[in-house]
């Protein structure tokens, strides 16, 4: 059971007996008024999105999804293949159902595959994954003129902003909850 104050991006709840995931979240509090929790919710089965505003006391059931630990194998077109670590059975998940998770999947990564009535409808990633920078501007050591982020592309094609001192080819840790740079990995 959750209340509105638990709402955050990525939380999975049940609405009208179907699982929804919070895809956008904003806490609002108009002057002297009550706290309002504005959300965008994606139906994890149909993929349709709804806007809902909740109040402080509102309660939710968590989405009742079975989780199975699986290893990411590879992708073919829109199909992403996973293997159940216990049964070795393979499961296919469509790119649409993966959402932003598709940017952080690397071969052999263990993820939790979310099952609803025996159908795989999404994945839950580890909070942090290591991915390699394949494209970014050069940085000259000692250059203090650009103490800000610069754009970069990682091996999955995902684009993000990283500190200027990270060079092309280096491995970085990304927080999958917000898709942001976290640290540089020393190899």
């Amino acid at each position: 059971m959750y209340t509105a104050s638990d709402l955050r991006k990525g939380l999975k709840v049940t609405i009208d007996n179907e699982p929804y995931i919070v895809t956008a979240f904003e806490f609002s509090k108009p002057g002297k008024g009550q706290a309002l929790y504005r959300t965008k919710l994606k139906n994890m089965i149909t993929g349709s999105t709804i806007d809902r505003t909740y109040r402080e006391g509102d309660a939710f059931e968590s989405a009742s999804l079975e989780e199975r630990v699986m290893q990411y194998l590879y992708k073919e077109g829109d199909h992403h293949y996973f293997m159940d670590n216990q049964t070795y059975e393979q499961t296919i998940i469509n790119e649409d159902a993966l959402g932003e998770a598709k940017y952080f999947l690397i071969d052999n990564l263990n993820v939790k595959v979310l099952m609803f009535r025996e159908k795989a409808i999404g994945v839950e990633l580890p909070n942090f994954v290591n991915l390699r920078v394949i494209k970014t501007e050069m940085w000259v050591k000692g250059d203090t003129s650009k103490a800000d982020y610069k754009p970069a592309t990682i091996e999955t094609g995902y684009e993000l902003r990283i500190p200027p001192f990270v060079q092309e080819g280096e491995l970085i840790t990304i927080d999958t909850r917000n898709g942001e740079y976290s640290t540089r990995v020393k190899e």
């Binding site: 002297k32 008024g33 009550q34 309002l36």
Partner: protein
């Protein structure tokens, strides 16, 4: 950044924003000193916060961390201090979002023999002067809006704003218990887009610690200032009738009780001394939010040294 292995990069990259923030705060102090205001410091830890339905004070031992320095500053007005200001930390339980941190910085100022109209003028002068200080000049860019700061700023009553932007009266939304939802979804995003906007004369149900308007007691002399859709400040022509204030507090307490929230002790000393309070006006302005607008920051996280999650 000469060190290439900074662990806390989000903190390191905020240096420029924090330098600008310090500059803005220095200028605020100078602005009020030059206008003859006395800078004061009142205790952060208090026994009885102002009872407000939707502001939850943080417990500190048997007392509370203040959610605003309002009550102590008003006691100073009652004791003969005429123009005072304070910049201080305040705490509000559970408030966290892209525009909220539960520990934040408020600027409050109070002046006797004034009303909320004086404060509107003073807000204009203050923010114009701060924009010049940080070199943004006659306008600020915030969330893609170019907000012009030249006086006069837009002044729109709550009733007018509801009619214009939501096609419904504010009174009707109160009846349907939808005032806050309409405010957040339909009104706020449209306030202060071309110029900063004062939205004023709140329905008496939302009076808080403001006095009712003599000519129209259905509304209270309260305003909020918005820049680029972001709420920056809340101001009142202060209520100075202790009996009326006690009744307002009781109503707020009842709302708190019905929402299952904790009940604070009644601030008796404040109510007692309020009888000597001269007609006054007072305002609370969110310093973090103002810095956000002046620096065009997307989230409040970019203008504070540490967020709660980083501690």
């Amino acid at each position: 950044m000469t060190n290439s292995l900074i662990k806390n990069w989000p903190l390191a990259r905020r240096k420029n924003a924090l330098e600008q923030r310090a500059k803005i705060i220095r200028k605020i102090r100078q602005f009020f000193s030059e206008r003859g205001f006395l800078e004061v410091e009142t205790p952060h830890r208090i026994p009885a916060p102002a009872p407000e339905s939707h502001v939850d004070a943080v417990l500190s031992g048997k007392w509370f961390l203040h959610a605003s320095p309002e009550l102590c500053m008003k006691r100073m007005l009652a004791a003969g201090y005429e123009k005072i200001f304070q910049i201080c930390r305040c705490w509000r339980e559970g408030e966290r979002g892209s525009q909220h941190v539960p520990e934040f910085t408020l600027l409050e100022w109070y002046r006797v023999e004034s009303d909320y109209l004086t404060l509107m003028d003073e807000c204009e002068a203050l923010i114009q002067c701060l924009a010049v200080e940080i070199g943004s000049g006659e306008s600020v860019t915030y969330r893609g809006y170019n907000v012009f700061l030249a006086s006069p700023w837009e002044r729109i009553s709550v009733e007018e704003a509801f009619h214009r932007y939501a096609k419904i009266s504010a009174k009707e939304t109160l009846r349907q218990d939808l005032f806050d939802e309409v405010m957040v979804q339909d009104i706020e995003p449209r306030l202060g887009i071309k110029k900063p906007a004062f939205i004023y004369d709140y329905p008496s149900e939302r009076r808080s610690l403001a006095r009712l308007k003599k000519e129209d007691p259905a509304v209270a002399e309260r305003f909020e200032l918005y820049l680029g859709g972001l709420e920056i400040a809340n101001a009142f022509s202060e209520l100075i009738d202790a009996k009326e204030q006690r009744e307002v507090f009781q109503l707020e307490m009842e709302t708190r009780r019905s929402l299952g929230k904790n009940i604070y002790p009644v601030p008796e000393r404040f109510l007692d001394e309020m009888e000597e309070m001269p007609p006054s006006a007072g305002i609370a302005l969110g310093v973090d939010r103002l810095v956000m607008v002046l620096l065009n920051a997307k989230t409040i996280d970019e203008v504070v040294a540490f967020t709660p999650e980083e501690l």
